[in-house]
């Protein structure tokens, strides 16, 4: 369904700002315990356990890298085998066409190349980056401090339990520095 004008103007969620990562982590746990599911936390440095606290369960990066690494290995070896055995069989000093030990270095490099590219591209794709616009940047203090020294928790309007007034009140009692409504 395409986005209409009405969808674009509304509330994305409610955002609370915290001073320390410990406060944010505690708040995220409380919010999850209170039944909120659609939320995200924003920090200027990675915090252990925070992703799990906001309901992040399955990290697909490692399986993707394994898959593409294996593709790289198979593709690299297959290419060399195909070149030397099928496409351009060439007798070099009586060696067998499929002299596989000589293919190992390139097979290894292809494995690493595909695995590394898939790690980066896969991570960016799963994170839906590059993303030129995101509603959280509508909060002034988020733009100024989220990438520097403040820790944010945003409960999103898509959550079934979300209600602007009540969610705001809930976040207020978690000892934030500031609570703000996030426009879409």
């Amino acid at each position: 369904m395409s986005e209409t004008f009405a969808d674009r103007h509304g509330t994305y969620g409610v955002m609370a700002q915290f001073q320390t990562p410990e406060q944010l982590l505690a708040a995220a746990n409380r919010a999850y315990a209170a039944g909120y599911r659609n939320m995200d936390a924003y920090t200027p440095l990675p915090i252990d356990g925070l992703a799990e606290a906001v309901g992040f369960r399955r990290n697909w990066v490692a399986p993707i890298v394994l898959f593409f690494g294996l593709c790289g290995a198979a593709g690299g070896f297959g290419l060399l085998w195909w070149i030397s055995v099928i496409a351009y069989p060439h007798n070099v000093a009586g060696r067998p066409f499929n002299s596989w030990p000589a293919y190992i270095p390139i097979t290894f490099e292809c494995t690493v190349l595909l695995a590394a590219l898939s790690a980066v591209i896969g991570m960016l794709a799963l994170n839906k980056l590059p993303q030129p616009y995101h509603p959280v940047f509508n909060v002034d203090s988020f733009c100024k401090r989220a990438s520097i020294d403040r820790f944010f928790l945003c409960i999103e309007a898509s959550d079934p339990k979300f209600d602007v007034t009540r969610t705001k009140a809930f976040l207020e009692q978690l000892n934030p520095e500031e609570v703000a409504e996030v426009e879409k």
């Binding site: 001073q19 320390t20 990562p21 995220a28 995200d40 936390a41 924003y42 920090t43 200027p44 440095l45 990675p46 915090i47 925070l50 992703a51 606290a53 906001v54 990290n59 990066v61 490692a62 890298v65 690494g69 290419l79 060399l80 070149i83 030397s84 496409a87 351009y88 060439h90 070099v92 060696r95 002299s99 000589a102 293919y103 270095p105 390139i106 290894f108 490099e109 292809c110 690493v112 190349l113 590394a116 590219l117 790690a119 980066v120 896969g122 991570m123 960016l124 799963l126 994170n127 980056l129 590059p130 993303q131 616009y133 995101h134 733009c143 100024k144 401090r145 990438s147 520097i148 020294d149």
Partner: protein
């Protein structure tokens, strides 16, 4: 009578000594300001030494321009390469530059896996060094091609001649190893930069800076879910780059070891090339980090601890290299093969003996001073030793490439190699190009990983996160 001048008004930057990886008193806000301001400060505040170095490096870079132009016009005959020494400066420089890159990957990947906290302040910087060094290295084989407009013939691609490269040749392995290394180094470096680019986007004061950093940051917003995937990807890249870096110089050493030439055909080459690569790379990191931290007053983030650790790693890798030289000598004697025995005798007493003994002096003898803590922790001495090691490692590559080719099996085919001015022009040119890139990098991108320094701060003192209510900071040098 000294009056109050502006220098006295500037905050004093104090190196906290060899025990601390960051000066006390920093929090997330101040450390962000400190590193970001190196980039965001107006152009007038750029230190004078930066401009002078940029100018000198830029002048040196013209050597590459002139050398490459003349080379493309006339052909490889303008170089000193002859038969039998068909691999001259181009291959010496290629191996040297690739090797320098290795320390960057070691710092960013291997020390990441080993959880060395001192890696944090220097990893971005050394990754950039890797990238720029590999870029220099990558030019040499192409310049050396004779027909430098046809490098794509090295790649396996369907062509009208229905010809394919021979995958049993180490020279083709090299193509894959070096191009993979460059690609992986580039993405490792860029992905490491993304959260910091977001910081720069939010700190930037000028509109064009906001736009540039904003586009490069790709909309990074520090979401916890993003961080989880990011850290997994970064860890996996570290795990992939670690065997990669070992493989690259191994493959480079195969270029020599797979051949039958005395002095090249030896199994010690792969480990000894890798150790030598890391040795020269650390020397280059020290050479570059010492001036950079001084120009931009970063002594409290790149501390004596970092320099001390790198000094120690230089001794360690230097000893592996020394062991490699010893084994070369031992094996040439133990083999009982007259050509092998002559090879070592020729290195030590032949026409290039002066460079051989200079190499022993630069790579083995002088760096032993690093055992002495007072010398290792003396900035000037460390800087000088790092330059000596850079020269020594270049001489090592020179000795390996030139002496074995100049005098192989049949005395009637022996010859001598003398580099020409164009060899020197291209070499000095790449040094200039490398330095231009490094000098521009430290001023235009955050050369220290800001978010990783924040992590270090978080581990050191979990409560210091706040710029508004700082925990009382201990006095510098406490």
């Amino acid at each position: 009578m000294p009056s109050l001048n502006t220098e006295e008004l500037e905050p004093r930057v104090i190196d906290p000594g060899p025990d601390k990886i960051i000066a006390p008193g920093y929090n997330n806000t101040t450390v962000t300001d400190k590193i970001a301001n190196v980039v965001l400060n107006p152009i007038e505040t750029t230190p004078k030494q930066w401009w002078i170095s940029l100018l000198l490096a830029f002048i040196a870079m013209q050597g590459l321009l002139a050398g490459a132009t003349w080379l493309f016009y006339k052909g490889v005959g303008v170089w000193g390469i002859v038969i039998p020494v068909a691999w001259g400066f181009a291959i010496v420089n290629f191996v040297w530059w690739i090797g320098i890159g290795h320390a960057g990957t070691l710092i960013s990947a291997i020390l990441l896996l080993l959880k060395q906290d001192w890696r944090t302040s220097i990893n971005r910087f050394s990754e950039a060094m890797t990238l720029f060094a590999v870029a220099q290295a990558g030019m040499f084989p192409i310049l050396h091609l004779g027909r430098p407009w046809l490098p794509y013939w090295l790649l396996p691609y369907p062509n009208s001649m229905w010809l394919w490269p021979n995958p049993r040749s180490p020279l083709i392995w090299d193509v894959f190893a070096v191009s993979t290394y460059l690609t992986v180094s580039l993405i490792f470096w860029f992905i490491g930069l993304v959260p910091d680019l977001a910081t720069m986007r939010d700190r930037a004061r000028k509109e064009w800076q906001k736009l540039t950093f904003g586009a490069l940051a790709m909309g990074w917003r520090g979401s916890a879910k993003h961080w989880a995937r990011y850290q997994m990807a970064y860890l996996l890249l570290g795990g992939l780059a670690t065997p990669l870096v070992v493989s690259v110089h191994t493959v480079v050493s195969f270029d020599f070891a797979i051949s039958l030439l005395p002095g090249w055909h030896t199994t010690i080459f792969p480990p000894y090339f890798v150790a030598g690569a890391i040795y020269s790379g650390f020397a280059m990191v020290v050479t570059l980090a010492i001036p950079a931290r001084k120009w931009f007053h970063l002594e409290d983030i790149i501390t004596m601890r970092h320099l001390d650790c790198m000094g120690k790693l230089m001794i360690g890798t230097g000893l592996i290299v020394a062991y490699g030289y010893m084994m070369e000598a031992f094996m040439s004697w133990y083999s009982g093969n007259p050509h092998e025995m002559f090879m070592y005798y020729n290195r030590a007493t032949g026409p290039y003996a002066f460079f051989f003994w200079m190499l022993i002096l630069c790579n083995i003898a002088i760096p032993q001073w690093l055992w002495v803590t007072r010398i290792r922790q003396n900035i000037t001495m460390l800087f000088i030793i790092s330059l000596v090691v850079n020269v020594g490692m270049w001489l090592e590559r020179f000795i390996i490439v030139i002496t074995s080719l100049a005098r192989d099996f049949v005395p009637s085919s022996w010859g001598m190699y003398y580099p020409t001015q164009w060899d020197w022009a291209v070499y000095v040119g790449t040094l200039g190009f490398f330095l231009v890139l490094m000098i521009l990098f430290v001023r235009t991108l955050p050369s220290i990983s800001i978010f990783e320094v924040r992590e270090v701060l978080h581990h050191l003192a979990p409560n210091i996160s706040d710029g508004d209510n700082p925990v009382p900071a201990p006095v510098h040098g406490d």
